[in-house]
């Protein structure tokens, strides 16, 4: 009996104490607990970051705020409107050395930015340059981009060509540059809307296109330019409407992109053509260290088969066993799969190396073909919507990859060896290129 009474008292006291404790925290007991919980995590963050996490010194802020509110429009000064001058240098066999500079003005979010370019092409003895204006605007979940550009410039004839910067370096060092160039003078304007899932772009171009001849055959290593000739563009006024839509497909990690360009007499163009290209690029990961990147593309040109609207095969963005853009036609089809390793092989092999240079391994296999009118003047390859079986080229290869992360996070410097497959007299080919992992599409950048 005595024992049971003692227990009852004890229970009563414990309950009373707990109830009292709850009353003592009245107000927001649970929120206080959460605050303490988050505060504990925050304290460890303070300890880790030290001075960087120190509270703000508020001395003088009230008077600065009073001044700022009383003087609307008072700007911070030179930092409000960005200004930068960047010297530039390019080299190709058509222009020779091109010395110039870029002036950028304006980076305020409400103003857009204006960029001016001016340079002198020594080989052509010609000034080229112009100005561009671009502005981005976020409305809801979408970003709008406006680009307006005008002036004179040197353009690569193969529209899908990439790797422009490294091509210039290769041309200067060894004379190896398989791209062909033309002069454009006029203006372009484009408007793009981009969401997290899709983007659409419409543009208009009004430009006079002229052929350029080779003016410079030297290189720093003493080799002559290879190839030495520069494919001539058809001279005329090009007025073109262009449309582009890109969609990240649901469920599967595939980005689908379609492009369509049309030029014709109805909009005052000297050229009459329709050009479209459909591309799908996938991105699968197998385990923690390998990406599989399959890409397929199909393009067709109808109307006038001018070189500057043709499709080209060869080089880093198509078949690496074929010299860059050395084959062309009014139709293009390509399928390629890349395996990209993400482990740093030097680290795996315990080879000391700087942190800045992780090296990866990769492999690839591809097949592709062009058909139709040859922009180089060769015989027309048979086929209307699809190439003949014997016109397909196949290859497989391996590559050593380095990803600098600049200027694009998924851009790789690649040293590739591509071996042609099937009955062919082509030999294996080494190449040194820079391309993005999914180089046939422009994925959504956000």
């Amino acid at each position: 009996m005595i024992r049971s009474q003692r227990v009852a008292w004890a229970v009563a006291l414990v309950v009373a104490s707990l109830a009292g404790g709850a009353r003592a925290d009245d107000g927001a007991p649970a929120d206080s607990a959460l605050r303490r919980y988050l505060g504990g995590l925050s304290d460890s963050t303070d300890t880790y970051f030290g001075r960087s996490a120190a509270p703000l010194d508020t001395a003088g802020l009230d008077s600065a705020l009073a001044f700022g509110l009383a003087h609307p429009g008072h700007r911070v000064g030179r930092r409000q409107l960005g200004f930068e001058l960047i010297p530039t240098f390019r080299f190709n066999r058509a222009d020779g050395p091109v010395y110039g500079g870029t002036v950028g003005v304006g980076s305020a979010p409400d103003a857009g930015s204006v960029t001016g370019r001016a340079s002198y092409a020594v080989g052509q003895r010609d000034w080229i340059g112009g100005a561009s204006y671009d502005k981005s605007l976020t409305r809801g979940d979408a970003m709008w981009k406006l680009d307006v550009s005008g002036g004179r410039r040197t353009q690569i004839i193969d529209r899908e060509s990439s790797d422009k910067t490294l091509a210039s370096v290769r041309a200067l060092l060894s004379g190896s540059d398989s791209r062909h160039y033309m002069r454009e003078a006029g203006f372009t304007v484009s408007l793009e809307r981009e969401t997290a899932v899709w983007r659409a772009k419409a543009g208009f171009a009004d430009e006079v296109q002229k052929p350029l001849s080779t003016t410079t055959t030297w290189s720093l290593m003493g080799n002559r330019a290879d190839p030495e000739f520069n494919l001539g563009a058809r001279h005329g006024r090009m007025r073109e409407l262009s449309y582009e839509v890109g969609v990240q497909l649901p469920v599967v990690p595939v980005f689908l992109q379609t492009e369509y360009q049309t030029a014709g007499d109805a909009i005052g163009s000297d050229f009459e053509y329709r050009r479209y290209r459909v591309t799908a690029s996938g991105d699968w990961s197998t385990g923690p260290s390998v990406s599989i990147v399959p890409q397929v593309t199909y393009g067709r040109l109808t109307g006038e088969a001018i070189p500057q609207a043709a499709f080209y095969l060869g080089g880093s963005h198509t078949l690496r066993s074929v010299v860059g853009s050395s084959m062309g036609g009014t139709g293009l089809t390509l399928a390629r799969v890349d395996l990209i390793g993400h482990d740093d092989v030097l680290a795996l092999l315990h080879v000391p190396h700087p942190d800045a240079f992780p090296i990866h391994l990769g492999a690839f296999a591809a097949t592709g073909a062009t058909w139709g009118v040859d922009p180089y003047g060769g015989p027309t390859v048979p086929g209307i919507d699809w190439p003949n079986r014997e016109d397909w080229l196949h290859e497989a290869g391996v590559q050593v990859l380095y990803r600098p992360g600049i200027p694009e996070t998924d851009g790789y410097v690649r040293i590739s060896y591509a071996q042609p497959l099937g009955p062919t007299d082509r030999g294996g080919r080494w190449s040194f290129t820079y391309t993005r992992a999914l180089d046939l599409v422009d994925r959504i950048a956000r």
Binding site: W9, A10, A53, L56, L61, P72, G73, H74, A108
Partner: protein, 272 residues
């Protein structure tokens, strides 16, 4: 036991208690049979849906906000030298729906006043705090994998820790991380991020740690601070091999009805 008896006598005697005291029971032991719970557990997909809705609700209830924003860069981190304050910008930011924003510069400090290095933060009228919930927006679900790492009870809050990582190994600009979700509001209250591979290996060795904290002000969850420690592959003058980037959000005023005159005639960023 002696403590319990003492406390019981104190209560019986009616003596005033200075403060509530929690007694420790060490004589009673009991056990209850296991109960099989048949109620379905909330699935990860449902939690993710609720987080997306919770974040959208958090955004929708904010009509205007004002806060003091600090951008701070501290160099010489993890070196033998003392950490060095390189830059500190302080602004008072005003935002109001649908599209009004004004940032008044309150302080601008640079270690080398004539140096070229500068950094600015741009503000929009958007109050959705994408820096916190970027991986939990409906459109981001296809880009990330998620799993529940832990659940804990804090007061009457159930806190979920959810870990996420990009599905693509090629998404070098997408971080992986862990969020703490308060399931009372289904709002993210804390986040820690890192990158499996450096976004820019040429100059950036790694992001050693990135922490995003929120706090509850007047019932609304808002950003409190973002702290990032970056380690470089090579030492930079003044900065050193590692530096911290800190964004702090203080002195909030939420839904106080900012007068439109605050925004009239003002550029987005101004000050002295």
């Amino acid at each position: 036991m002696a403590l319990l008896i003492t406390l019981a006598l104190t209560v019986l005697a009616g003596a005033p208690s200075p403060s509530p005291t929690l007694a420790v029971e060490d004589t009673m032991h009991t056990s209850v049979p296991e109960v099989l719970v048949h109620a379905p557990r909330v699935t990860l997909d449902e939690i993710l849906d609720r987080v997306a809705r919770g974040e959208a609700r958090r955004d929708s209830v904010l009509e205007d906000q004002a806060f003091t924003f600090t951008l701070r860069v501290v160099g010489n981190i993890q070196s033998r030298k003392e950490p060095l304050l390189l830059l500190e910008n302080v602004r008072r930011v005003y935002r109001k729906r649908p599209d009004k924003v004004r940032a008044v510069m309150l302080r601008e400090y640079r270690y080398k006043e004539k140096g070229r290095a500068s950094m600015q933060a741009d503000f929009s009228s958007n109050m959705s705090e994408e820096v916190v919930n970027f991986a939990f927006r409906p459109e981001a679900r296809r880009d990330y994998r998620y799993h529940i790492e832990d659940r804990s009870i804090v007061g009457d809050h159930v806190i979920y820790q959810i870990v996420f990582e990009p599905r693509s190994l090629l998404a070098f600009d997408k971080p992986r991380g862990r969020v703490w979700v308060d399931t009372n509001d289904f709002v993210i209250v804390r986040e820690e991020l890192d990158f499996e591979h450096s976004p820019a290996p040429l100059i950036l060795k790694d992001i050693d740690r990135m922490v995003i904290e929120r706090e509850q002000i007047d019932g609304y969850w808002v950003l409190r601070r973002v702290l990032i420690r970056m380690r470089m592959t090579i030492p930079f003058p003044t900065i050193g091999r590692a530096f911290d980037l800190t964004l702090m959000y203080d002195d909030y005023a939420l839904n106080k009805g900012i007068d439109d005159t605050v925004f009239s005639g003002a550029s987005v960023v101004e000050g002295r």
